[in-house]
């Protein structure tokens, strides 16, 4: 799959070598201190903040000629953000790109973890808007830094408790806080909490880049990632009443798609690659959309 013609006049993968070294040093520290947010000198990128500048910088720093890159946005390979970032690296690094999860060596993601199990040797790069899990509870960086230094995470438990007091259950459904390797509490980025269990003991290396907030953090492979909860209110993921309307998959994260003005709707896999592979294997959902796949 080739997305674009290579660009000349830029260094490999756009960033200059000095910037890459700085980001690489931050990545190494992040790996050595799982879940800790390493400050880094985030650069202006040729895309606005909020479009994945942190993830793009991490990807640019690790990418090599032999890597195969996949980019997803909310599970989808073909939305604007995914297409433009994939084309960006195809043009500035001339790397091979793919939509197939298992073929990729580097997967940059916005807000989803692929449904297909990841394997050893893969790197999952998350785009992160707000890296600090305590930020909406304590706005001062000086204070949140102290709280992390002291491993003082009572505030977060109070927040989850208040959810229970108000709603009867923990109402946080995305960016659900996790404890990494028994030490740091970390924001898994705004992935649905459905994906949290996939972070635990994951064979792939997980790197997180926040461009505007200038932070990089990491979860090494096979690391304990525990979603915060209470004994009497254990962590639970979302469940869906119906399987995917296109491929019939159960136990996957579904997107709601409105079909007309009368409120007709269907639920389909958020992970487009997973859905396409299943349909290619002959799985058909009940949505009457069999013709959607050619």
């Amino acid at each position: 799959m080739s997305a674009a013609t290579p660009e000349t006049g830029y260094n490999f993968a756009y960033l200059d070598e000095g910037t890459k070294r700085m980001i690489r040093r931050a990545i190494l520290k992040a790996i050595a201190i799982p879940g800790y947010q390493v400050p880094f000198a985030s650069r202006e990128m040729p895309m606005p903040y909020g479009w994945g500048t942190g993830g793009v910088q991490v990807t640019a720093a690790i990418l090599g000629k032999r890597d195969v890159l996949k980019v997803i946005d909310q599970g989808s390979d073909d939305t604007t953000n995914a297409v433009s970032i994939r084309a960006f690296f195809a043009r500035t690094a001339d790397v091979a790109v793919t939509t197939r999860t298992r073929d990729a060596t580097v997967i940059q993601t916005r807000h989803r973890i692929p449904e297909a199990p990841l394997h050893e040797g893969q790197v999952l790069v998350y785009q992160v808007p707000i890296p600090e899990p305590l930020r909406f509870l304590e706005p001062r960086e000086t204070e949140t830094r102290q709280l992390h230094a002291l491993a003082e995470y009572g505030l977060m438990h109070v927040k989850l408790y208040e959810d229970i007091a108000r709603h009867g259950h923990i109402a946080t459904t995305y960016a659900y806080p996790v404890e990494v390797a028994g030490r740091y509490v970390m924001d898994p980025s705004p992935t649905p909490k459905f994906d949290n269990p996939k972070m635990d003991d994951c064979p792939a290396l997980q790197l997180f880049g926040a461009g505007r907030e200038k932070r990089i953090y990491a979860v090494p492979p096979h690391t304990r990632v525990r979603s915060l909860d209470f004994e009497d209110h254990p962590f639970r993921v979302q469940s869906f009443d119906t399987p995917c309307a296109l491929c019939g998959a159960e136990g996957v994260y579904l997107d709601e798609v409105l079909l007309d003005d009368a409120g007709k709707r269907m639920f389909v896999c958020s992970d487009t690659d997973h859905c396409e592979e299943r349909r290619a294997d002959g799985h058909v959902g009940t949505g009457g959309m069999e013709t959607a796949h050619v």
């Binding site: 800790y36 102290q146 230094a149 090494p220 492979p221």
Partner: protein
């Protein structure tokens, strides 16, 4: 004459970085590293490659006694990295150690602070043997179950040092062990036992 640096600075540096990243992310695995460098002795090609890939004006280097004795080594590193070479181990981002058995106590290097544990040193030790089949038992982040690692020569009290280093988590130093043609790493997060 000054020895040459990377033949292909962009991709050689990326390859070295990925080997170091994989080694740190999976403690106890031995990663291949075959730098095409001929640095002045006693700087090994592996130590030189890691320095060239990661050190620069923002990341000072500290050299052990064996390396500091050779003006050619300092000249090579200064020219190719632009990094400041410091005599103060507490200031170094990377410490290059050619005589690993005589490595100073890990606590003499920057440990980071409770609020900024990342402001700590990475020690790069030249070893002659490295194996993931026997030796110490490792567990911690990056390790599926447990792993093994044997390296020599290392200081006689390495196990005590590594134990103290791990006990100080999240502060502490990270170790890269570089043997001819390959490397492994022991981040501070790894628990090392006999």
């Amino acid at each position: 004459m000054l020895a040459r640096g990377f033949a292909d600075p962009v991709h050689d540096a990326q390859g070295v970085f990925r080997a170091v990243m994989e080694a740190l992310a999976r403690p106890g695995t031995v990663q291949p590293l075959a730098p095409r460098l001929e640095p002045p002795a006693p700087l090994t090609p592996e130590l030189a490659a890691i320095a060239l890939a990661l050190a620069d004006a923002d990341a000072p280097l500290w050299l052990d006694a064996g390396l500091a004795r050779s003006p050619a080594v300092a000249g090579f590193l200064r020219f190719h990295t632009g990094a400041r070479i410091t005599d103060n181990p507490d200031e170094a981002a990377f410490a290059l150690v050619s005589e690993a058995a005589a490595c100073p106590d890990f606590a003499t290097f920057a440990q980071g602070t409770p609020a900024y544990p990342d402001r700590s040193a990475t020690l790069v030790l030249a070893v002659s043997t490295l194996s993931d089949r026997d030796g110490w038992h490792l567990d911690g982040p990056g390790i599926r179950g447990s792993a093994r690692l044997a390296a020599s020569p290392l200081p006689a009290d390495s196990l005590d040092r590594l134990g103290r280093n791990h006990a100080g988590f999240p502060q502490g130093v990270d170790l890269i062990l570089a043997a001819p043609g390959r490397l492994a790493a022991l981040p501070r997060s790894t628990r090392v036992t006999t």
